[in-house]
Amino acid sequence: MSENQIFTDFKVVELIEEKQINFNKVLFGKKIYLINIWSSWCEPCKDESDKLLELKNDTSIMMIGINYKDKKKNALNFLKLYGDPFDQIFIDKQGTISINFGAYGVPETFLVNEDNKVLKKYIGPLNDEDVYEIKKITNN
């Protein structure tokens, strides 16, 4: 999705409980939603893990992870090793959920507001400047 576009609804499956849910129902109750597409086999995802953990401290953001083409066991090990910044995690076994987001691969991050509108899209790992920008957006 490019900036200013609105997410249409689609179904997602939770990583832990493996329950199916409509994605629109996930985007509820917060001012800002950060959607991060990641995988345990993705090297740049390791680099951005501390940035995501830093953003987790901002209570106005709901952190949503999309685990891309991964094995559940490896994904859980990754979270144990690098920390779990996410409030909710969904699986994308075939990469088709990421197509719904308009993503190209991993890692990719979308910042979405309460109207499901994409405010920002970050291709590649988040860096300090991105974190600063996200914090600035959430403080407004």
Binding site: S2, T96, Y104, G105
Partner: protein, 131 residues
């Protein structure tokens, strides 16, 4: 009595067999149809992370996901147009090799005609001058 029930059982098995094989054939036909449709669509989609390849030609992770996504959308009853327009919405007009006429691509479509008219006018003017 025994022979009659044996015949009945044979007929029942035969009916079940015909029913199953008919259904399997329908499923296989539907699957082939969706696969062919997916190929047609992906031949007109640019692989955005590859160099000069269509989604159909590419084996990249992105292209493979896109093929599965499109097949899934077709199975869910989406038309080619709906799939193209939703992908253009997500990835921009650049994803399609054959962009439709829209506000953004109007110049692209009109430019050859404009150049033809301007060129024709210049040539026409020169010919008229010589006469």
């Amino acid at each position: 009595m025994f022979m009659k029930s044996k015949k009945l059982l044979t007929i029942k098995i035969l009916i079940i067999f015909i029913f199953i094989s008919f259904n399997l054939k329908s499923i296989a036909m539907a699957s082939t149809f969706y696969e062919e449709q997916t190929i047609n669509i992906t031949k007109n989609l640019r692989c955005l992370i590859c160099q000069g390849q269509t989604i159909h030609e590419s084996n990249s992770d992105f292209a493979e996901s896109m093929k599965k996504y499109i097949k899934g959308e077709l199975e869910n009853g989406k038309t080619d147009e709906e799939i193209f327009s939703s992908l253009v919405e997500k990835y921009g007009q650049w994803i399609v090799y054959d962009p439709g006429i829209s506000r953004n691509t109007l110049l692209l479509w009109a430019l050859p005609l404009l150049l033809f008219l301007i060129g024709g006018a210049i040539i026409g003017k020169r010919i008229l001058k010589k006469i």
